[in-house]
Symmetry: C2
Subunit: 340 residues, 2 copies
């Protein structure tokens, strides 16, 4: 796929053909974003971050517009070279003409932290490339936090015509695992030494990794780390990622671009395997179900809050205190009111 | 009020006139419990602990049967003598003919812990008194935990004719504060020394206390603790407990029964003040509203869980993946299904 093959894709200049006023309607922003106006894309992602009431309309406008972008999650402990690897992957995908969106997610903070600013610097070689959109993602308004905001931001970029969406997660532990569930393919990065292999097993990342990358492979111990990983993968269940995929281990020196094409090849293979086996459809179904559930719970909590501020609850409490009603029946009526 | 003045009250022998089979209906258990059968009372409280489905029927049967028992919360750090004080208060209330129910609540554990077993030993002088019902309270089934189970257990004892219900909470911090909200009158116990006064201020118990008791007042520093408390109360807002009540500070040596009648007098004064000012009605309304809200949230969570296990969510996720639906609309339908 070449950049010229797609009219109206995000290949248009980053400044866009027209600067939309902030008062423009959601439909106008969606049209502009889908025509390649990066400022409009940014505005839509900001609506996601703010959990804006306008999101409902935006998501309704985007339904059916997804183009099936390849969503790749990159995760790993601090210092393994996530941003450098992401940047090298962007270059590789751009070289073959793909439009690339990058979301940098920090699950440890509701606001994007300092680490992401540093990451952005490493990404700056792509800053003037109109085929690349880079964004760090915070969650300022969502009750469900980044686990709600991230799939929505992916949804926006997918509908805006990006072929590949790289979701880079800063952070470790459970949040990392959760975010990994939002991607089609999860890449776990390690660096040689520091007992990373064993740490990996502890953090449960053996289960979430579709591809392992041992970055900084010019350092001592890279080959040992690969062997440790291979060994652990053989000890584990045979179908770690389901359906017979055995996660490959690739060595890279991302700062020099070494081994990056092999990672892209592994990503292509995994994508092909997922399409062949139905795993891609299964994963997308599962993560969409998670997204709907999170939205539903968030909506119920909000509605309950509104009702509590109103007059429903005091009247019900009064009836229970007076003995005209039992608390369960009162709760039933409160629930019925919530959803009336 | 004398014990003989009340036919059918809990003054009946603890063994009850008849041992009901476990297969007896909720209505039969309620009738027996209200006729003074302590085993039936125990069975009803066990239904509360287990969050039994039969609770709905029990609560419906009990609605309007409450007799307006005086609900007294006793709280304080471990070692201040809560159980000894509770036991002494039971004796004082029994001496004037009141039926007394005691609930020992440990919010720090979903199952009643070892501490409560020790407490029960201290209570054993009342074990053979048919006018006293003592029960430690766990929460084995409730999603809402003890904050749901405790008001329901109080509701059971109130409808069974107990005049005074003492709710003793083991534990410190937020759980203590939450449980305190379940009583008409909250007694905060302190012991001399150990900087308890300052700890009290930190834990926010100045705000929840209607009455302070400095127990172990034969120890050095009791008078100083009282002065510290008085001083802090003067520094605080003038209406700490609302409506002009200024929490008195009483000194006791509960193990010898000293000062206990003065605590009972303070409880009577507080009750009278609450009735005069409408504060009693306000508090009961507020805690009933909390109870209904907790039941409603618990019910919504359960219903959502049932629906997720069914076929609703997969079908909605499928429609979103296929682009026929946006995730917000899908979430709306999931919520509508929950409450249909």
């Amino acid at each position: 796929m070449t950049t010229n093959a797609r009219a109206g894709g995000p290949e248009a200049p980053a400044s866009g053909p027209a600067v939309l006023p902030r008062s423009a309607s959601p439909a106008e922003f969606v049209d502009a974003a889908r025509a390649g106006n990066h400022r409009a894309v940014a505005r839509l992602v900001s609506l996601v971050e703010d959990a804006s009431p306008a999101l409902r309309e935006v998501m309704a406008l985007l339904a059916g517009r997804g183009r099936g972008a390849q969503v790749v999650g990159l995760t790993g402990s601090p210092g393994v070279g996530k941003s450098t690897t992401t940047s090298a992957l962007v270059s590789a995908y751009r070289a073959r003409g793909s439009q690339v969106g990058v979301l940098a997610v920090d699950p440890s903070s509701p606001f994007s932290g300092g680490a992401l600013l540093g990451d952005r610097v490493r990404m700056q070689e792509h800053a003037t490339d109109p085929g690349v959109y880079i964004r760090s993602l915070a969650s300022r308004g969502h009750l469900g936090g980044l686990s709600l905001a991230t799939p929505q931001a992916v949804r926006v970029l997918d509908a805006c015509g990006f072929d590949v969406i790289l979701v880079e997660t800063v952070g470790v532990g459970q949040a990392e695992v959760d975010i990994a569930g939002l991607a089609d393919t999860t890449v776990v990065l390690l660096a040689p030494g520091m007992g990373d292999g064993i740490q990996a097993a502890k953090a449960g990342i053996l289960e979430i990794a579709d591809i392992f990358v041992v970055n900084k492979a010019d350092r001592e111990g890279a080959e040992q780390t690969r062997r440790d990983l291979k060994h652990m993968l053989q000890l584990g269940p045979s179908d770690l990622a389901g359906g017979g995929w055995r996660p490959p281990v690739r060595l890279t020196v991302a700062s020099r671009g070494e081994g990056i094409l092999e990672v892209v090849a592994a990503l292509d293979e995994h994508r092909e395997w997922m399409e062949r086996t139905g795993e891609l459809a299964r994963r997308r179904l599962a993560r969409t179900a998670d997204e709907i559930e999170a939205l539903a719970l968030s909506s119920l909590r909000e509605q309950m809050g509104s009702l509590l501020e109103g007059r429903g609850l005091p009247a019900l409490a009064d009836a229970v205190v007076a003995g005209r009603l039992d608390p369960y029946t009162a709760a039933d009526r409160l629930v019925a009111g919530v959803t009336a």
